[in-house]
Amino acid sequence: MIRFIAKRLGSGLAVLFVVSAITFFLLYMSSGSIARNILGDQATAEQVALKEAELGLDQPLVARYFSWVFDALGGNLGASWFTSEPVANSLASRIPVTMTMVFAAMILIAICATLIGVTAAVKRGWVDRVVQVGAIIGDSIPGFVIGVILVTVLAIQLGLFPATSTISPESGPDAWVYSMSLPVIALLVNGVTGGAQQIRSAVIKQLERDYVRTLRSRGIGEREILFKHVLRSAAPAGLTVLSLQLIGMLGGVVIIEQIFALPGMGPLAVTATGQSDLPVVMGVVMYTVGVVIVVNLLVDVLNGWLNPKVRVS
């Protein structure tokens, strides 16, 4: 197991390196004169040249990339070209907001999707049909549309929640709960409906297997069969779909954070990319790749733990 984790971590680092190189060179090629972007449309050519020297943009591209890599290996991700704020500080203040939201949504998705999926698979009949239709509807409405509807009804008309985030250093946990509620709901609707569908079909497939018939013939209760055997065998499919949803959510959360003005990774990513603020974009990309690698690793480990059949030696 440890060897497996080490191997996966190793390949993760390789991915991180490759992605960082591709991002760095692509960004450089598409960003034109960064110094001019920073200084605005009234800057003179001398000003631009001065700024380029200040930012080290007059150095060769490859040299700049490796100096970034060595700094990053030493824990220094550099500072924003536009605000001079250290990238590590930006990430540290924003990752908790985004991750709190994503993980709250994921946990709720896991619980709701499992309950709904299993119920649909076991009961079948009209319950199943309602779940199926609900899944199509839920899947077809984008999260940000749900977000806008929620704000209009629950925040503006009924005043139950704040319309935009009230999270600040002086706010207590209640501000977090209130500010996060609507965005989390907006994020989880798609996940619940999609997840429930996957879990439903996985459970149905397991229920039709021979071992279930054997267990039943031995007089083992339906509940035990379901929770001890069927769910465990169906878990890998559910976990895989959940991990895909979590990774997809890193994109969806960008728009949700804009609508709710949450100080998370989304607005940082949008602003930095729009401005070609390379050090910040690199930081955001490293964070995203890091999350993807960790989530995939976790899913593999969990899968192996839950189901010895898929365990990798």
């Binding site: 598409s30 960003s31 034109g32 004169s33 001019r36 972007n37 920073i38 200084l39 605005g40 449309d41 009234q42 800057a43 003179t44 000003q47 001065l50 700024k51 536009f82 605000t83 001079s84 704020e85 203040s93 908790p96 709190t100 993980f103 709250a104 896991a110 619980i111 806008v148 704000v151 925040a155 503006i156 704040p162 319309a163 935009t164 009230t166 999270i167 600040s168 250093p169 002086e170 706010s171 207590g172 946990p173 209640d174 501000a175 977090w176 709960v177 509940r223 035990e224 929770f227 001890k228 804009q258 003005a261 100080p263 607005p267 940082l268 949008v270 602003t271 729009g274 733990w305 839950l306």
Partner: protein, 508 residues
Amino acid sequence: MKLGPKAAATALTVSAALALTACGGAANSGPAAGAAATALTIGTIQDVRSWDPAQAHVGHVLQPYQAVYDSLILREPDGKLSPLLATGWKYNDTNTKLTVDLRTDVTFSDGAKFDAEAAKANMDHFKKANGPQLAQLAAVQDVAVVDADTIDINLATPDPALEYFLSQAAGLMGSPTALGTEGIKTEPAGSGPYVMDKAGSVKDSQTVFNARQDYWNKDLQKYQKLTFKILADITARTNALVSGQVDATILDPKTGKQAEGAKMKLAANEVDWQGLLLMDRDGTKNAPLKDVKVRQAINYAFDRKTILDQVMLGQGTPTSQPFGKESGAWTEGLENHYSYDPAKAKQLLKEAGYENGVTLEIPGIPNFETQISVVKQQLADVGITLNVGAALTNTFTSDVAAQKYTTMYFSLFQGEPTVAINQIISTKALYNPFKNADPELDAKIEAVRTGGADAGKLAQDVNKYVVDQAWFAPLFRVNQMYYHNSKVDVVPQIQQAVPSIYNYSPAK
């Protein structure tokens, strides 16, 4: 059913995760916001990049600096320049030296004293720091301390906008002991009406200020607490305003309807003009544009009023001139210089020898798709084909400078005459990439630059020249839709989309 060890472990993990999520907030608990009666919350589009006053900008991004930094000169809402840290100022006969008298009773928030040395230190720092508004002091050769409360600003060439600039970024005064340090980038040190509450502020989310206790000019300090809530997304700004989270913010004509439905008040103000920049006037890359008749034909092709009504919901004024109403260069006569006349447009094209049509290439502009499609249609009606290329990206300034575009649709700020000349008309202007020039025009520009107090009036000649020569095809000046609730009175500030911080006061 008995829970197996794995199920129990899963349950534990889930509850631990939930507990952790809840804890994320607990550490941040603190005292609640107070002084509601005299608190003002403004929704802004972006956070400042650096609190170094030399990095201050114009428009949206000047306002937060005004909370913490006094400027040498105060610009009233109508554009009149009044004393602030400067008590008086006077040019010499050749307009090459501005002598400025300064207050002596002002201290900065870090305890340093404001005097002539401090003013000089600020202007020297501004010229060195390569900020986005460095051009404001481009004409300044050096600053000399005459005595403790007087400085001489020596100019290499006269600049009639200098006094205006001293009410803007170039006039903001920071503590001389903090200038150039790392600290001032994240925590301002000025002599202004408010001091930043660093503990309550979060980068790109909100910036909180408290009234400075011993501030010297109580007239400019109208609130106990001032908060800038950064709301980049216009939906978020609209929602925050109508739900009462912010007292004032900038919207657009469409979201403005929603704000009006919630009984918000509008402080409208014309700040920008929109239209075509016909930049290749020598026909370097697009030969027909060399002919003034073609450029005039383009101007006659537009039904400006209808476009304004349809696309901007009527929020603005149709115009044929690029200079703004408050600039002094604006004249009533040029307002409808090119009225909607498709027949005349066709006639002019025929006279120019282009009766078979002309083709223009413009880049697409995000958020201007509707305007551009209407412009394209109206040009097609007179026989001009408009090809819309790939949208502008963040490289557009360098692309414009590299003569990539012969024509473009744009929205541009209307400022003081020399500001506009430096932006769109002079050979050094970014939006004159083909460096079009004419001795007659050069003489008119030179007259403005050396014209001192008459600069505005002299710029009318420049305005007339570029309108007659159809350097541009302006469509309209657009209203900035600044909305606020009934708890606050807001006075619009000329040439600014968002008002200066001094223009807000508790509603009477």
